[in-house]
Symmetry: C2
Subunit: 112 residues, 2 copies
């Protein structure tokens, strides 16, 4: 039945958040989910079933570029970096998010 209150999250912002985190520098998928959880103080929990499809989606659209490298722990991992197109896309999405959250704020704050 899905508990909408407890798990109320990403709602279409996942791609933007991933792009933003990758914008800090090349990073692999597993680390992205940790970073996101960490920065958001445990609010955003990206599950692997959402994360990896999202990464492939972003790669398909030409916003991320993967490269296999050795991770901090000495194991092989797929590091993603932002492409030029990806940087532009991130800008668009952030702009879009700003306008969208403003609009929501306006409606929620509206009185009678």
């Amino acid at each position: 039945m899905m508990d909408k209150d407890k798990k109320e999250f990403l709602k279409g912002t996942l791609d933007m958040l991933i792009l933003k985190i990758v914008a800090f520098g090349p990073i692999h998928g597993y680390a992205i989910s940790q970073r996101m959880k960490e920065i958001s103080k445990d609010f955003f929990q990206v599950h692997q079933g959402s994360l990896y499809p999202a990464l492939h989606r972003l790669e398909d659209r030409g916003w991320l570029e993967p490269e296999w490298k050795e991770s901090e722990t000495g194991r092989e991992a797929k590091f993603y970096k932002l492409t030029r197109k990806g940087r532009k896309q991130l800008g668009n999405e952030m702009e879009s998010w700003a306008r969208m959250s403003d609009a929501v704020k306006t409606i929620l704050g509206a009185v009678e």
Copy 2:
């Protein structure tokens, strides 16, 4: 292929926004979409294929209660009003939205 840039909208906030608008007082579906467009200064355009299913969904969950009445124009229309459960739900969703948009702001604002 869907142009995500031009059409970037409700992202899971539709239910909350509808509840909030109905919270102002009984109102029918068609008027809800107009109100939303108006208050948000044309940002949110709820399409009929989203609006009516959403209203039925909210009714099914016991958050809205419908009543057929005559509209301002003299025609029959289905006026919705917020139930007690609906008011509580709205509170939860607003709280949830606040925390979610804070978390997004934190990530977007994070530096290196």
